[in-house]
Amino acid sequence: MATQILLKNIDVPGLAEIQVYRKLGGYTAVEKALKTLSPDEVTDEVKKSGLKGRGGAGFPTGMKWSFIDKQSQKAKYLVCNYDESEPGTFKDRHIGQLNPHQLIEGMILGSYALGANTAYIYIRGELFYVLRIIEKAIAEAYKNGFLGENILGSGYSLDLYCHPGAGAYICGEETALLESLEGKRGNPRIKPPFPAIVGLYGSPTVVNNVETIATLPWIVNNGGEAYSAIGIGNSKGTKLISACGHINKPGIYEIELGLPVEEFIYSDEYCGGIRNGNKLKAVVAGGSSVPILPANLILKTAAGEPRLMSYESLSEGGFQTGTMLGSGGFIVMDHTACIVKNLLTFARFYRHESCGQCSPCREGTSWMEKILMRIEGGQGTMKDIDLLVDIAKHVEGNTICPLGDAAAWPVASAIRHFREEFEEHVKLQKCPF
């Protein structure tokens, strides 16, 4: 059994209640940090751990924290990005719903390290039922002296609040999230300045994903070195993978980074193989925006090495033959799945979620959806396929935020690896599935 940091006690009844969480060792990391470690020492442990942001971008967490302007006289903020909305990703929902105190404990540790006295959990509006669970847990934490004035007599004070979104994928982009938290439309900001310098209300701010923050108690309790001993290469620690699609056992799995992809898909401990004994056709390994890979390239790299669940191995071969770990949203398709139709649902998603600020994204996502509707509907031409490639190329890298890239990569990769299937739609003048 792989090390479990996030899911270890997830099945314990009543884990969302503070007494149960504490009985299992909960809040000992807060006691340790506030009584024996300085904020910089907490940051150092996180740096040593090699933990990378688990929301999708994979930026080293300790380094992100070190950019914060500590000399600034302004208030500092820690904001938890709980706007989980990348298709295929459903890991964070689980943490807040079943183990909210681990997230709260992580928020206290992160806020202490950053010198923040106010912190927010920005949670997508659709998850109001999870917000209510977290708010109940926050009230318990206040009552038990882990939040509020002078926590555990340390002199450190922290207020923590939940803030609901209202249905906008773009608010998962950290500057759009901050705009939204300020009560505005979720339009991403031009960077620099980065949030660590000019964030919430113009103050130094760090935005971290739920899974990243929920990992902090373990790192503080066990030390950064112990965390970095788990995993492979620069992919340290464990990662939640949310697996869905045509597999026998869809669900959330905590893996040690470095697990072979083949074992993840076929072992009974994880996905349990493809449904109905069907043939594996393709995988989108890290949420809808990462490049899709055909069965042969997800199981083995182009060089014939077994592909591993790690940042490095999944991106081996670049976008020509590789992909990304992303958010850990692992979407599996068997031989009955139409690549064009699946892509069309993604294209519709990105068109719907584009904030409309940048022309290449606003127009490009709409064009890509229309052309894909044409091809899937049997009215496409061979030229349409090249047109899609061309549009994707012109959207990528030409927008304020990464939504443009996220919309372009699935299109470019689907045509790169499954061009015959697009051509078949055109030749038959209908969907062959």
């Binding site: 295929g88 929902r93 509006g125 045509h246 809808s288």
Partner: protein, 177 residues
């Protein structure tokens, strides 16, 4: 909610909740409370945000009405037109599609006699398609108010419809309560 001369007004209990939310943000940053307050306002206004209700929210937060309109029109959870008592939102993004979302949508269409975006003549149900609800492991998924219903099948959908009809389901309840 009470109405005087068509101007909406929250009752004391709701106003207390709103004021408690406003206090979560630094002084002078009460605009931050806009999304939470709009959620509450929508639940108090039969599931949609009328211009009058948005104007009222602007006065509560001491901001301009346009600041409310531009935000309300950006976020997909806010309805700017009237909806039925029970809004059924069916996810149809990739993972749900792979697991039969289209079948679920077609089933609701047949049972309710409406297309996505429409409301039944008796005003009881609105059908909507929505993008990823982040519950892909239990696809197909639908949302009704703050409830998720997962691993949906046509049979499960029928049972839910029966239940909602029986209890005159209202999906726009105050999400904080």
């Amino acid at each position: 909610m009470q109405e005087k001369n068509n101007i909406p007004e929250f009752n004391r209990e709701t106003l207390d909740l709103v004021n408690q939310i406003i206090k979560r943000y630094p002084q002078g940053r009460q605009k931050s409370a806009l999304l939470p307050v709009l959620h509450i306002a929508q639940s108090e206004n039969s599931g949609w945000l009328s211009p009058e209700m948005m104007d009222y929210v602007a006065t509560l937060l001491d901001i301009l009405p346009i600041e409310v309109y531009e935000v309300a029109s950006f976020y997909s959870m806010f309805n700017l037109k009237p909806v039925g008592n029970c809004v059924i939102e069916v996810c149809h993004t990739g993972p749900c599609w792979l697991n039969g979302a289209e079948k679920i949508i077609a089933h609701f269409e047949t049972r309710l006699g409406i297309k996505p975006g429409e409301t039944t003549a008796d005003g009881k149900f609105t059908l909507k398609t929505v993008e990823c609800l982040a519950a892909c492991g239990n696809a197909p998924v639908i949302q009704v108010g703050t409830e998720y219903h997962e691993n949906l099948t046509p049979e499960k959908a029928d049972n839910l419809l029966e239940q909602w009809k029986r209890e005159n389901k209202i999906s726009h309840t105050n999400p904080y309560l």
